[in-house]
Symmetry: C3
Subunit: 203 residues, 3 copies
Amino acid sequence: MQINTMETIETLGTISFAISGTFAAMQRRLDPFGVLIIAFVTSIGGGTVRDLLIGDTPVAWMRDVNYCLLILLTSIATIFFKTHIKKFKVTLFLFDSLGLGLFTMLGIQKGMMFGLSPGICVALGTITGCFGGVIRDTLLNTIPLIFHKEVYATACILGGILYYALKYFHLKDDIATIAVISFIFILRIIVVRYKLALPKFVY
Amino acid sequence: MQINTMETIETLGTISFAISGTFAAMQRRLDPFGVLIIAFVTSIGGGTVRDLLIGDTPVAWMRDVNYCLLILLTSIATIFFKTHIKKFKVTLFLFDSLGLGLFTMLGIQKGMMFGLSPGICVALGTITGCFGGVIRDTLLNTIPLIFHKEVYATACILGGILYYALKYFHLKDDIATIAVISFIFILRIIVVRYKLALPKFVY
Amino acid sequence: MQINTMETIETLGTISFAISGTFAAMQRRLDPFGVLIIAFVTSIGGGTVRDLLIGDTPVAWMRDVNYCLLILLTSIATIFFKTHIKKFKVTLFLFDSLGLGLFTMLGIQKGMMFGLSPGICVALGTITGCFGGVIRDTLLNTIPLIFHKEVYATACILGGILYYALKYFHLKDDIATIAVISFIFILRIIVVRYKLALPKFVY
């Protein structure tokens, strides 16, 4: 049952990231192919970088063509129904935050499957959650959003640390997983709602 | 014989991409090392990303030093004879388009060798043909050309779909391969000649 | 003994690159997480690209968590003591140049371990030394420094050629290694001291 839940939320996360990538690309006036590529990269970028770094190739999306179809259909639907979807901005943000939490947990668990140490697993979780957006912003020629706005990646790192803290107190893996996803989800909502941000440095 | 033909066109494609990379880098006033790196990246970027994603490492250019020598010599020759080569702009464009077609087919066939599904193989073909240019433009700090001009990657995708359509009708692989390369080659010429472009979206 | 010396200098190189990454990120007014990521990427980027290309995964920093801790502590220390460290600009530059020399040699030796040809090994050495900076600059949305300023990568390439020249004359590996590191170190100091640069091209 846990696996089914995870797959459901992963699907929702993939859809949300595809939608956010489509919007970002349309904002930069790319042609339809560019929009599809950016939607694709935003959705699978994080997992791809994770799989490359640990050497689990062919990378995940190459082994399951359904992923690609899902992103393709989501992106096309977003292009055609954009006025309609814009009204659901809040729904979108919620899905995106859910996806962030789940992708972070997927990354951590994949790292553990490969026998990597906790610090590395947290890094893998953060990469899985955030690097789709990093590659998207790099291709669109802007400084990646997560480097200067919102406490995006920080939420992943804190979530990862929380996971190991809960494991340390012998919590069941299912409960710890759900707790971490909820934590990242809620933390991000609080941060965006109250416009919180980490302080910046001037050199 | 087919293999020899492919190798010949691949060599020509590599040379064309090296020349186009050299020109792009000189336009941005890079120093000679920068020019060589950009020429190199443009030529081998697509195949490298493809090999990384399917886990076929060490990547192709590391196993055959002749590739590197070819790019090095082409780039140096371009630097010294740039005035002369500029006159052959049309020849260059033709080679570049030929290379695009062939690299796309190479990517598709490599994907099939690894037992990947058709949709993924078309994606691999597109990556092999286009990502050298994407990395070049990202390093040169511009939005990759293929995201907002010319129907470049779209030609690869349509070519890939054509390949599987021809296979579906039991065409011999040799003939299908040549048909697809010709299709991409001619499509690109028509698009550039008549200044066609995909419509853009505004968000 | 040679291994211990190498490890010592590698540690110093890692520290220097972490410091230089931290400074670069603070200059662009990133938040603390962004600063840490850029410091991390600058330090381990070159080795990561090298390991990905030759297929030695999980990549090096995933197998030794001490690397990550070292970078984390260095970056945090740099943030807190930035005024103090700025005074040691020359010391920093020297460490950075030392690191460049050593990382180049590490890359060459890893390539040799994998049985790659000399030209490819020199390329791997250059990648190990320079690509951390390339990724840093790409993420910070500038044309990578090494493409248009200083004879940075050129020093790595010349050092790599020198290494094979010394091997050709049957020098002991230890001595050749130290000679190459010193060569890159001194060449870079001379170039920066006398503001030398490769000539640029205009297209």
